[in-house]
Symmetry: none
Subunit: 139 residues, 3 copies
C-alpha cells in the first residue's frame, strides 16, 4: 500500500494507556526518539498493540509544525530535532523537508511561516506533532 | 498493513489540481460521495495519482467532526451524511460510529460535544472532514 | 520560541477534565472567547495545567475552518467570529487572515473553499477549530 502520508517512522511500542474512548501509545522510534500517539481504544484492540509491538508512526505533512528556538512548556508531546534539507515555496503554502535522526520528515506549513522563521537548508529546527495527529501502522 | 486510522473509504480519483507545494485531489467514493483531499504535490507524484486511480481515503477519527443541523457556508469540503450507530463515552472524549452510504466512519470528539448535540444511535448527522485531514492510499 | 504555528492566542485556563488517556482543558482567551483544547493527560500533568494557569492556545493554520453562515448543531467546540483581513490564493490552497477579538488567525483552506464561500477582505466569518487541534503553551 502506497500512502500519501509523507512521514513514516519505524519504532517499537513501549507502553499503552487505554481509556474508555481513547488510548495513548508510547513508541520508541528506530532513531531513539520517544513519541506519543493518541488513537482510539478500538484501534489499539484491533491492531493488538502492546509493549513490544513493531509499528510505523504515520504523520500527514500538514500536521507537522516547526520551531526554530528551544521548545518548552508546550502540550505538544512530540518533538523531533532536525535540520532543514529543502524548502519548496508556493503562493499560499510551503513544504519543508527536515532530516531527523533515523529518517526524514516533510512539514506543510504556510508560506508566511517559512518567511517568518527564515527557514533555509541547514536551519536547525524542531519538528512538532500533536499526539492526536499520529497514526500507527502495525506489522 | 494494519492501520490505526479508523476511516478508510474506497474510491476513484476524478481530478488532480497541483500547486507548487500542495495539490488538491478529487475522489468519488464507492458510496457515490465526492470528497477532496489536500496532500503534498510530492505525494501525488510519488503515488502517480491521476484521474482514474483507485485509492482509499484515510481519515483519523480525531479529524472527523459531526453536525446535526444543515451545513452551509462552510469551508470544510467533505460532508458525508449518515446515521449514528453507536457512542462510546469516556471522561474527556467520546467515539461515535456513523454509518454512511458505502461504509462506516468513527469520529473522536469531546464528551461535551456528544452531550451538547444529544447524539445517540439513530441520530442523523453529517460527518465533516477538512481536506487537509484526508490522506490517500493507492493500490 | 519561534513556531511555524501561525495562531497563538493568550488566555487563562478555567477548568480541566481529565480522563485516563486524554484531558479537555477550557480556556478563556484574552479576547473573552471560551475555547476547549483536547490534549493528552500527560501534557496536563507535565505543564501543571489547572484553573488559573496562563497559557497560549496554539492552532496550526491547516486546522482552522471557516464558516460564513450561522453555526449550530456542530461538534466543533471552538468558534471565533471575525472578519477576513486578507486572502492569498495559490493553485490548490489559500490562506485567509481573519481578525478576531483580541488577535488574528490564519486559516489554510482549499482554493475551492475560498471561491465557493466568496471570501474577500471584509467578509464576516466564524473560525472553527476542533478541540483535538488546539495545543497549549504554558507560561
Amino acid at each position: 500500500m502506497n500512502l500519501s502520508i509523507r512521514n513514516q517512522l519505524p519504532g517499537t511500542v513501549t507502553a499503552v494507556t487505554a481509556g474508555v474512548a481513547m488510548a495513548s501509545v508510547k513508541v520508541r522510534l528506530a532513531g531513539g526518539q520517544e513519541i506519543t500517539a493518541a488513537v482510539t481504544r478500538e484501534a489499539v484492540k484491533e491492531l493488538g498493540l502492546a509493549a513490544g509491538s513493531s509499528v510505523r508512526a504515520l504523520v500527514k505533512a500538514t500536521e507537522v509544525a516547526l520551531a526554530t528556538g528551544p521548545v518548552e512548556g508546550l502540550s505538544i508531546r512530540n518533538r523531533l530535532p532536525g535540520t532543514v534539507m529543502g524548502v519548496t515555496t508556493g503562493e499560499a503554502m510551503a513544504t519543508v523537508r527536515v532530516g531527523v535522526v533515523g529518517g526524514e520528515l516533510t512539514a506543510a506549513v504556510t508560506r508566511e511561516a517559512v518567511d517568518d522563521l527564515g527557514l533555509f537548508p541547514g536551519s536547525e529546527v524542531v519538528a512538532l506533532v500533536k499526539s492526536t495527529e499520529i497514526s500507527l501502522a502495525a506489522g
